[in-house]
Symmetry: C2
Subunit: 399 residues, 2 copies
Amino acid sequence: MNISKRSVALQASPIRKLFPYANEAKKRGVHVYHLNIGQPDVETPQVFIEAVKKSDFSVLAYADSHGWEPLRESIAAYYHRIGLTYETEDIIITNGGSEALQWAFMICCDPGEEILVPEPFYTNYRGFALPYTVELKPIPTRLENAFALPDDATLEAQITDKTRGIALSNPGNPAGVVYSKDEVCRIAYIAMRHNLFIIADEVYREFCYDGQEATSFGSMTDALDRIILCDSVSKRFSACGARIGSIASHNRDVINAALKLGQARVCCPTLEMIGAKALYDLEPDYFIPIRERYERRRNIMIDALQKMQGVLCEKPGGAFYAIAKLPVDNAEKFALWLLNDFREDGKTVMLAPAEHFYQTPNQGVDEVRLAYVLNTDDLSDAMRVLDSALKQYPGRFLR
Amino acid sequence: MNISKRSVALQASPIRKLFPYANEAKKRGVHVYHLNIGQPDVETPQVFIEAVKKSDFSVLAYADSHGWEPLRESIAAYYHRIGLTYETEDIIITNGGSEALQWAFMICCDPGEEILVPEPFYTNYRGFALPYTVELKPIPTRLENAFALPDDATLEAQITDKTRGIALSNPGNPAGVVYSKDEVCRIAYIAMRHNLFIIADEVYREFCYDGQEATSFGSMTDALDRIILCDSVSKRFSACGARIGSIASHNRDVINAALKLGQARVCCPTLEMIGAKALYDLEPDYFIPIRERYERRRNIMIDALQKMQGVLCEKPGGAFYAIAKLPVDNAEKFALWLLNDFREDGKTVMLAPAEHFYQTPNQGVDEVRLAYVLNTDDLSDAMRVLDSALKQYPGRFLR
């Protein structure tokens, strides 16, 4: 019994594939600092579970395929507070930001059509596109150039008659890049010139540091019919396990297609939508201490990385990730060695090899993605352990 | 901005498309008996919400992409109780039975490949297949023949070199058909002869009447490598809003592909998995009074339908649906007329036109699907109202 070729082609999560080795290390009594996964340690606001516990029902019935209306209203109110003009009817609730992105790819593309994506990109984009036989076409950005987007000519050279859209995460996973307002405008105008959709993955919108703010593609008023805005409560409110996301658009065809996709799988989970509404109803100052906390962590991690001999790492402006180039032969080998063969005072660190965030072969081979989702003491100690590991790793070499 | 052709081709839910008219009727003060949707009125067992309320966490974190292990263990134990041999590692949790079926189609088929489905079928199958450009090929079954499957020769004549599997719901939605053990065996052997997967949608497994039991495809020991068993808590435990389903298979390639699809969208909602485990831990005798309740309703509804002049309806053996042929020009027109123009003592009924459950054009034009998910008093009254409506409908005609 052969399964489909596209099922075979699906990749196992590169972020998760080293887990068995981490578990083995833990069984040997090694403490593993997890820098590999974007699972925030920030407490989920209590209002979430309080709202769930207050819910009263005798039959846990199907919800509306649009999503629970009070949640959609609260998301619209949240958008209004940040200056965006999405109304309740422009918003469909999805099973996490993941489903929103899957749908966006499918709504833009027929089989074989293409979406441009600045590379490195969130590796799950591949798992969203491949089942729908949508092709991702990388726009190369590189660590040495602070992951800046190429100029118009280089970018437009990637556009073919099969290109239907461009997908960007901003602030970005995995490199923590925040595009300036000028860059967001530039992308919007390129999309307008070439009649492309923009799939705007803005799930890290509030995690922007150094006093900067992220510019939402939803504020590009000339391009609103081509913007598909994907959001999620996962990172925003530290509620990854809720699996509540949303898709918003001023384009009625997009929203109608999303609704039909929603009707096919009927609805999102009721209790989690009730909890998610309470999250979106939080006062905007909820984000202030969270942002400060992440900014402190970023500073500690990046300062430490920049002091390590042979490590290259720019300070990222947002999200809670950074990509670092390490003085090693191969970052995946190094990550495995950390779990299998290394310990410092009984501790080691788990890293995500960055190669898998690139689509272009042989890119990022000596790079890792680090998520700063540990408290500052643990993060400092993890950096100490990493520094020591880099000095001892047999595959070390300095350029 | 044109969206993809396949997005345009998606159909709005035929079960839900008449809702706006029902809402208008309600605004005019008309009481609408909903026979159109399989939303059980049976109470969700209290253990669900109790388990959720007892859950204790400070961070609502991502769950395992396999699904929460205690839930997978409880589903394996449930399968063992009913004589099936699926173990924890053979089971992946999905966002409802919907995601399980979507994945099953994708895992079996590359674009343009085909799945056979006895028609009429659950209309959402189309919404599961189309985004993946999987073709559904109907195996005609007809009301006049109690929706029996055709003989081997007729059935095998539908198989081409593009056919990768056969999908069946058993007990069935929308016709309530329960396949005999012989029929299940026959299908398994056809699948073995032609190297097809069997996508077994058994979400109504416990709703089987007249002392009969449904035979699970999971009991076809010679064919286990080709069986993809899709399940859900929605109907089984009256927990449609939980959106917890599962896919089970003894085929490692299938489970590995499902896991990779799971990793792409990370995980299912945590709280709902906690609640779902409590449901699967219920004693098997939980189903006895529920089954009796549905059986009483079925008898009331079918007895009433069979007494109506010009109505054809066989007594279905399972699930909680029936298809009836009505003495009307067009069942969708009649359903609309019921909502827009008719009332009896201030009441009307909402029906699902059955045409949309057929893929073959012009089939089921004068048929409706009725779900018996109302209490017996309401159901009897709904039948009285329907009988009266049929007598008054301007498009009535008797064959």
